[in-house]
C-alpha cells in the first residue's frame, strides 16, 4: 500500500503541510518496501489555477492509496475519490511521522467530503 503525506520538505519529523494543492511537496511511504520518497510539488505550487487538481492527478499517477493532509478542497477531493484514494484531513499541527504512525495504527478517521471550500473566491 502507498501512503502520501503532504510535506514541507523531505524530513519525516517536520510538520505536515496543511495545504494540499500548493503543498511544498509530498512524502510517499510504501508499506511493502518500507521506503520513503520525497516528491517536489514546485510545478503546482506555482500553478495559476487548478493546483489541487494537478496535485491529485500526480498522486494518482504514482499509485497512492491513501492521502494524509491538512485541508483538502472540493475539486481535489473529487479527483481523489474518483480514483478511490482514501483522504484523511485535519492534520494541521502534527509531524509527518506522527501522522503516518496514527494512520498505520488506525487512529485517524477518513474524510467523507472536502473539509474546506475552494480558494478561487
Amino acid at each position: 500500500m502507498k501512503i502520501v503525506i503532504t510535506a514541507k520538505d523531505s524530513y519525516l519529523n517536520n510538520y505536515v503541510d496543511t495545504r494540499f494543492g500548493r503543498a511544498n511537496g509530498f512524502l510517499l511511504f510504501d508499506s511493502e518496501t518500507k521506503k520513503i520518497t520525497f516528491f517536489d510539488n514546485e510545478q503546482n505550487l506555482n500553478a495559476t489555477q487548478g493546483a489541487g487538481i494537478q496535485t491529485a492527478q500526480n498522486i494518482i499517477n504514482i499509485g497512492a492509496d491513501v492521502v494524509l493532509t491538512g485541508h483538502c478542497g472540493p475539486k481535489a477531493f473529487r479527483v481523489l475519490s474518483a480514483a478511490k484514494v482514501k483522504v484523511f484531513t485535519n492534520l494541521s499541527s502534527t509531524t509527518c511521522a506522527k501522522a503516518l504512525d496514527d494512520y498505520l495504527n488506525n487512529r485517524l478517521k477518513e474524510a467523507e467530503c472536502a473539509d474546506v471550500e475552494g480558494h478561487w473566491v
Binding site: 495545504r19 500548493r22 505550487l45 506555482n46 500553478a47 495559476t48 489555477q49 487548478g50 493546483a51 487538481i53 494537478q54 491529485a56 492527478q57 494518482i60 475539486k75 473529487r78 479527483v79 474518483a82 480514483a83 478511490k84 494541521s92 474546506v116 471550500e117 475552494g118 480558494h119 478561487w120 473566491v121
Partner: protein, 599 residues
C-alpha cells in the same frame, strides 16, 4: 463615447470619480450609462439606490462536454490543457468547468471526437435605471469560483455601451494593470486616471500610464485628495505631456460623506463645480502619454544567503480587504518599531513600500512565469489557421502581411502552437516581472514589479516571500513583516502562507465593512491569529462601532484606532512614517499595537 476611469491600484477614488461624473453628466450628454467593470468586487451599487431593475441576463461561455461512448480515455486532452481544468482518473475524464478558459484545445486534440461544446453560465449582468439621478447603471457579477472575469466585462460592455455620439458610457475599471483592466480598456475612447499627490499615488499612476501608452489611448489625470499644488504629480504629468483636468481637495467632510455612502456632488456645491468642469474638458482629452522606452538595466541576485541559519522568526502579515486603507503606513511603522526585521512587499501589482524609509536598490532579478507565444516569420506561411482557431483574437495580420501575436490579448492556451503545421510558433516562458532587494532605514526589503498586463501575481508573491524568508533566516532577523496585496484572491492567500499572525487594516466606511468581513472569513479559514487596526477611526463613529461589533462576532481583538490626521499624508509625501515623530498620537497608538502583537 466610452470613457474609462481607472487607477493603478484600488482605494484612490476611482469609484467616487465615476459616480460623481455620472451624476453631473446629464447636463452635457443625452444618454449616460455607468458601467461597474470591477466584477470581482463591485461596489458602485453601495452608493446608488437601485429602483427599477430593467434587465438581468446571463453571461455564457462554451465549455467542453465528453461523449463517454466515443472516449477511449487516452488522456490527450488532460495533457494539453494549460489550465488544469481536466483530470484523468481510472477510466474516465473529469471536467472542472469553472477553470475552463474555452480555448478549444481539448476538442482539437481529441482523436475520438469525444468532446463537444455546450453553453455554461458563469455570471450575470444587470441593468438598472437610476431614476432620480438620470443615468443608467449596469454591473456584472462573476459567479463564485469562476475565473473568466474578462468575459463578464466584455459582455457588460457589449450590451450596455451605447455607441450614439451624444451618449457617454462611464466605465469604472477594475484596479491594477492585468487582464481585467486591459479588457475594460479595449474599445475605449478616452481614459481618466485617478491618483493622489503622494509617492504611492505617483507610483501607481505610472503603472496605469504605461498601460494606456501601450494601448495608445488618450489620457488625462484627476487628482483626488489634492493639496492644491500637487507638485509630485504635476512634474510627472508635464514630463509625459498628460493634462491634469481636475482636482478634488482633501477634506475631512468629503471623507465623512463618502464613508456614509453619499454622493459628493449632491452634498457639496463646490464639488459639483469641479465635476462639471471635468466633464467639459473630456472632449479635449486627445493625447497619448509620451513614454520613452527606457531599458531597465539588468542585474542579478547572487543567492549568497541560501544557507539557512535560524528558523526562529515571527512572520507578521498586514492585510486589508481593499486598497487605500493605510496598510503600507502600518507596515512601514511596524518595520520602524521592529528594528531587526526583513520587510516583504507582496503587493506586486502596485508595490510601494520602497517609496518609504529611504529605500536604495541593491540587486534585482528577472522573474519568468506563464507562457507567451511568438511567431517565427521565416517559418510562417500565413495560412491563417492560428487566427481562425485563437479564441482570444490575439493573432493579428498586420499591414506588411506578417502575422503577429498580441501579448496583451494572448491567454497562453497553446492552441496556435498545436494547430500550426509549419512549427512557426515558439512558446517560451514569459518575462513577467522583476524581484528586487533594497536597503532601507529599517532593514532589508524584498519587493517586486509585475510587468504591465501580466497575470500570475500569486506566483510572484510566492517568490517574494521565498526570498524574504531566506534572507530573514540568513540574517537571523527576529521578524518578517509582510505587506500584503489588497483583496482576498490568490495573491492574498499566497501572502498568508506560513504567517504567524495577521493584522487587518480597515476604515469605518461602507466599503470598509463590506471588505473586512470577507477577509476575516479568509483568516479564520486558515486558522490564523488575527488582529484589527481601524484607520481614520474618527471619520465615522457609527461605522467604527459597526466594525468593532463585527470584530467581536469573530472574537478578534481591535488593537488600535488611528485618528484621522492630515499630517500623516504630509509625512508620507516625504517618504516618512508616523514613527518619525515619537510624540505623534498615531505613533503612540501604533507602538502599543506592536507590543500586543509581539507579546
Amino acid at each position: 463615447m466610452n470613457l474609462s476611469i481607472a487607477s493603478g491600484k484600488g482605494g484612490t477614488g476611482k469609484t467616487t470619480v465615476s459616480i460623481n461624473l455620472a451624476a453631473v453628466a446629464q447636463q452635457f450628454f443625452s444618454n449616460i450609462t455607468l458601467l461597474d467593470c470591477d466584477v470581482e468586487a463591485p461596489d458602485c451599487q453601495l452608493f446608488l439606490d437601485q429602483e427599477i431593475s430593467l434587465k438581468s441576463s446571463d453571461v455564457v461561455v462554451k465549455t467542453p462536454k465528453i461523449l463517454i461512448e466515443n472516449c477511449s480515455n487516452c488522456g490527450k486532452c488532460v495533457k494539453n490543457c494549460h489550465y488544469n481544468a481536466l483530470a484523468k482518473v481510472n477510466d474516465s475524464i473529469i471536467i472542472f468547468e469553472e477553470l475552463c478558459h474555452s480555448c478549444g484545445m481539448c476538442s482539437m486534440v481529441c482523436r475520438d471526437t469525444a468532446i463537444t461544446k455546450e453553453n455554461r453560465k458563469i455570471g450575470k449582468i444587470h441593468n438598472t435605471k437610476i431614476a432620480d439621478k438620470g443615468f443608467n447603471f449596469a454591473n456584472g457579477d462573476l459567479n463564485v469560483g469562476e475565473v473568466l472575469t474578462t468575459k463578464v466585462i466584455a459582455q457588460l460592455k457589449e450590451d450596455f455601451c451605447d455607441s450614439n455620439i451624444n451618449s457617454l458610457n462611464i466605465i469604472d475599471c477594475p484596479p491594477g494593470t492585468s487582464c481585467p483592466a486591459v479588457e475594460s480598456f479595449l474599445d475605449t475612447d478616452k481614459v481618466i486616471l485617478v491618483t493622489e499627490p503622494t509617492p504611492f499615488g505617483l507610483n501607481d499612476l505610472k503603472l496605469a500610464i504605461n498601460l494606456t501608452a501601450e494601448l495608445k489611448l488618450p489620457v488625462a489625470i484627476v487628482i483626488n485628495k489634492s493639496d492644491g499644488i500637487d507638485t509630485i504629480i504635476e512634474e510627472y504629468a508635464k514630463e509625459i505631456s498628460v493634462p491634469i483636468i481636475g482636482r478634488i481637495p482633501f477634506k475631512k467632510d468629503y471623507a465623512k460623506a463618502y464613508s456614509a455612502g453619499k454622493i459628493l456632488v449632491e452634498e457639496f456645491s463646490e464639488v459639483k463645480g469641479i465635476f462639471c468642469d471635468i466633464i467639459q474638458k473630456i472632449p479635449k482629452i486627445n493625447t497619448v502619454a509620451n513614454i520613452s522606452n527606457k531599458k531597465i538595466k539588468k542585474q542579478f541576485f547572487h543567492h549568497a544567503f541560501t544557507s539557512a541559519n535560524s528558523e526562529n522568526f515571527q512572520e507578521i502579515t498586514i492585510l486589508s480587504g481593499k486598497g487605500g486603507t493605510g496598510k503600507t503606513t502600518v507596515t512601514a511603522s511596524f518595520a520602524a518599531l521592529a528594528k531587526n526585521s526583513v520587510i516583504a512587499d507582496t503587493d506586486v501589482d502596485a508595490a510601494n513600500m520602497h517609496l518609504m524609509n529611504n529605500a536604495k536598490l541593491i540587486e534585482q532579478k528577472d522573474f519568468f512565469s506563464g507562457l507567451s507565444c511568438q511567431i517565427d516569420q521565416d517559418k510562417c506561411l500565413q495560412c491563417g489557421k492560428c487566427i481562425q482557431f485563437c479564441q482570444f483574437d490575439a493573432i493579428e495580420n498586420n499591414n506588411n502581411n506578417q502575422f503577429k501575436i498580441n501579448n496583451l490579448k494572448c491567454d497562453g492556451c497553446g492552441v496556435c502552437e498545436y494547430i500550426c503545421k509549419s512549427n512557426a510558433i515558439i512558446t517560451r516562458e514569459n518575462l513577467t516581472g522583476t524581484t528586487k532587494l533594497s536597503a532601507t532605514d529599517y532593514g532589508p526589503l524584498i519587493h517586486a514589479n509585475l510587468n504591465t498586463a501580466e497575470d500570475n501575481t500569486g506566483k510572484l508573491v510566492t517568490e517574494v516571500r521565498k526570498q524574504a524568508t531566506q534572507l530573514a533566516k540568513f540574517l537571523q532577523q527576529k521578524y518578517l513583516i509582510v505587506d500584503g496585496p489588497p483583496g482576498i484572491g490568490c495573491p492574498v492567500i499566497a501572502s498568508l502562507t506560513n504567517s504567524n499572525c495577521v493584522v487587518l487594516v480597515t476604515e469605518p466606511t461602507v466599503s470598509g465593512i463590506h471588505d473586512l468581513e470577507r477577509i476575516i472569513k479568509l483568516c479564520k479559514h486558515f486558522e490564523l491569529l488575527t488582529y484589527i487596526i481601524i484607520n481614520k477611526a474618527d471619520i465615522n463613529i457609527e461605522k467604527a462601532i459597526e466594525l468593532k461589533k463585527l470584530a467581536k462576532i469573530y472574537s478578534i481583538e481591535v488593537i488600535a484606532e488611528i485618528p484621522f490626521d492630515r499630517n500623516i499624508s504630509k509625512l508620507l509625501t516625504q517618504g516618512k512614517t508616523p514613527m518619525h515623530d515619537k510624540n505623534n498620537p498615531i505613533a503612540k497608538v501604533l507602538t502599543k499595537a506592536w507590543k500586543t502583537i509581539i507579546k
